[in-house]
């Protein structure tokens, strides 16, 4: 075990897999000479050379297409978006080329598309977005969102070894704010298995990514108020651990779904719909959602805080569900 930030855990997974498998290469903007906008690949150019750590022109569609192609002939490229917001520039290559290749031809495309998501750092409307629902709605893509340093490493390792395109979404607020003990060397967290972060009997809070921490914090508050709250961290949206969601809700009979992405047509709708359909008989209260308000992420702190979900908003929603 080594104490690492969430960011260091990502670097560690990349470094470990690059040492292990010569077919892994990295491609993106400012990842080589500069070591990445967030310094995730600092020192990689020196260790792995410029054939395996490739700085690109600003051309997301171009380098995503190139990486995806290389993936079909035995490479395992990992693409970095400087901010995940720019994934929109490569959208066509992702939803039409990457997502559909194996279904069309039976040719594998093991590529990882990763980058920083999320708000809370006053970066404004174009450096704060959460795009997971777009990709979860596109068959053929796996969608992974680690909430802890340990999972950041384990899931990234699994993503690199996965034989499919994986959208791996990091949270930039957690990069340097979250630190824990992480296994050294190879560490794999299978994609598609949720994790219980707290165990409880009265309410299931289902979340993923950064808001898992808000939910755990809220669960601690509610515990002091006498409620026993289970927090389920989905870790991946595709594949979705339906079983874990339904088991938890069948146990607690109450569900609150939380994410940082905008509410409307967010992935929370999918989770709530699943629960409403498959756990109908067990529910003692309406499935409730907490998410960002349906506006772009504003720059100014008071606006941004009003827009994002918070521990208080989650705790309040949980109280309503519990009191129902």
């Amino acid at each position: 075990m080594a104490r690492m930030t969430y960011l260091q855990a990502i670097s560690d997974a990349l470094r470990t897999e690059m040492r292990r498998d010569p077919n892994v290469f990295l491609i993106g903007e400012d990842i080589a000479v500069f070591g990445g906008a967030f310094k995730i690949t600092q020192g990689f150019l020196q260790e792995f050379g410029e054939d395996r750590v490739i700085d690109t022109p600003i051309s997301e569609s171009g380098f995503v297409g190139a990486a995806c192609a290389a993936a079909t002939v035995g490479f395992r490229p990992v693409v970095e978006f400087q901010f995940i917001d720019f994934i929109s520039c490569a959208f066509d290559q992702i939803v039409n080329y990457a997502a559909k290749c194996y279904y069309r031809w039976g040719i594998q495309m093991p590529v990882v598309l990763r980058g920083p998501t999320g708000g809370g750092v006053h970066a404004g409307p174009f450096h704060s977005q959460n795009p997971e629902a777009w990709f979860a709605h596109t068959p053929g893509l796996k969608v992974v969102l680690p909430s802890t340093a340990r999972d950041a490493k384990g899931l990234l390792t699994a993503a690199i070894r996965d034989n499919n395109p994986v959208i791996y979404l990091e949270n930039k607020f957690l990069y340097r704010h979250y630190r824990e003990d992480v296994p050294e060397g190879e560490h794999v967290t299978p994609i598609g298995v949720a994790a219980l972060r707290t165990v409880g009997d009265d309410l299931s809070i289902i979340s993923y990514g950064a808001t898992v921490h808000h939910c755990v914090e809220a669960a601690r508050m509610l515990e002091k108020e006498g409620a026993s709250v289970e927090v389920l961290d989905l870790r991946s949206l595709v594949p979705l651990d339906r079983k874990a969601i339904l088991e938890s809700v069948r146990k607690t009979s109450r569900a609150l779904v939380v994410h940082e992405a905008n509410l409307t047509a967010g992935f929370g709708g999918e989770v709530a719909a699943l629960i409403a359909q498959e756990a109908f008989e067990y529910l003692d209260a309406p499935v409730t959602r907490v998410a960002s308000l349906d506006v772009p992420v504003p720059f100014s702190p008071p606006l941004e805080m009003a827009m994002l979900p918070s521990v208080d908003k989650i705790a309040n929603a949980a109280r309503s569900v519990l009191a129902y």
Partner: protein, 381 residues
């Protein structure tokens, strides 16, 4: 917002026969192979159009009639291990490379044959192992230039002496992907060859509305790459130009763009009556039909006889007929198979019965989570 009617800008190339057999490194078998591939495609497409009108093939049908020389000539210049990708008008390239007409027909009919098993149009094929055709086309024009750069990058990283050749229409040179892919390939001097078939239209859109330059090759300076422009209906001119482009790329000097002026003799798809194409343009190119030109050359300059060619043509027609019969006999895919093969199996795929583990988050609260965010340790943008 000008240019209401299309202009052709073509070196004034006479519809005459240029090549002399004594200078050409091809034996009779090879010359026949060229002819068969071109003629087979032409005959197949005539038949496919008819089947479409009879409602026997599904969806829409796009034909490459008139572009057989660019297709066959270009792929003939490839070597073992080279990759190539086609667009809508390169059926003859498939045939030249040995893809069976009956398989193509079966795909057009949506039959259950690999690798697509009914999921993709007959137009498209990806088969790296057998034919060096990687999966490339994602439906969006020019999407295969970035992926083409990726295949070229793979060759370069592996130090393989191969090239990636990508057919591209004139219209497909407009999307941003064309620029981004070629820019990357040029910066890294990747062995990517663009075979640009300027067939005068992109659907109904003329060159003048598609680009502010006369030739696609006029754009080569933007990438600092090798480029040539030629008349594309003369098989031998095509072969030679393609060879130069391919060998340039193979030698490590970076991408090449080889442009061929040619003509789409049918509409964009068979639903399109191409009313927007001026009569003179059709006539100009009808005189310069690549198969007609090559056939004349075989008769006049090589040692082919009319009856030889006629028997080849009869064989080609029979092959197309039997391709149809065979394709019709194949089964359609089973409806249940529709959800198969969405994801490739992977080493760490979880056991579906695995329960969610309890992995608590037991660190102290994250600073800034409940209060205003703390940027002291923060990231940078």
């Amino acid at each position: 917002m000008s240019h209401p009617s299309p202009k052709i800008t073509l070196p004034d190339y006479p519809a005459e026969l240029q090549a002399d057999p004594r200078d050409l490194p091809y034996d009779k078998a090879q010359l026949t192979r060229f002819y068969v591939a071109m003629k087979l495609a032409r005959t197949f497409e005539e038949k496919l159009g008819a089947l479409y009108r009879q409602g026997k093939v599904n969806g829409a049908v796009y034909l490459g009639m008139g572009q057989e020389a660019t297709s066959v000539g270009s792929v003939s210049a490839l070597k073992d291990g080279d990759f190539f990708t086609t667009v809508a008008r390169n059926l003859s390239a498939f045939f030249y490379k040995g893809i069976e007409p009956r398989d193509v027909m079966a795909r057009w009919m949506g039959k259950d044959i690999p690798p697509s098993n009914g999921r993709e149009l007959g137009l498209f094929l990806a088969d790296i192992k057998n034919f060096g055709i990687p999966p490339y086309h994602n439906g969006s024009m020019a999407s295969w230039i970035p992926s083409g750069a990726g295949y070229a990058l793979a060759f370069k990283l592996r130090k393989q002496p191969n090239v990636m050749a990508a057919f591209t229409g004139d219209g497909a040179t407009s999307p941003g992907d064309f620029y981004e892919g070629l820019n990357f390939a040029a910066i890294h001097k990747l062995p990517l060859v663009i075979i640009c078939e300027v067939n005068q239209f992109a659907y109904s859109t003329s060159i003048a509305k598609q680009m502010p330059v006369v030739n696609v090759a006029d754009r080569a300076p933007a990438f600092n790459i090798y480029a040539e422009t030629h008349f594309g209906n003369d098989l031998f001119l095509v072969i030679e130009a393609a060879q130069r482009g391919i060998e340039h790329a193979r030698s490590g000097k970076g991408p090449a763009l080889i442009e061929f002026k040619t003509f789409r003799q049918r509409g964009h798809g068979e639903h399109d009556d191409m009313a927007y194409v001026p009569e003179e343009l059709r006539d100009f190119w009808a005189e310069r039909d690549p198969i007609k030109m090559y056939r004349e050359w075989l008769l006049k300059r090589a040692s082919f006889t009319t009856s030889e060619l006629e028997s080849t043509e009869t064989q080609v027609e029979a092959d197309v007929e039997s391709a149809i019969t065979y394709a019709e006999s194949l089964p359609m895919p089973k409806p249940e198979s529709v959800t198969e093969r969405l994801f490739a199996p992977s080493p760490h795929d979880p056991d579906p019965n695995q329960a969610a583990p309890y992995e608590p988050i037991d660190h102290p609260s994250i600073p800034g989570l409940t209060a205003a965010q703390d940027k002291s340790e923060g990231g940078h943008f």
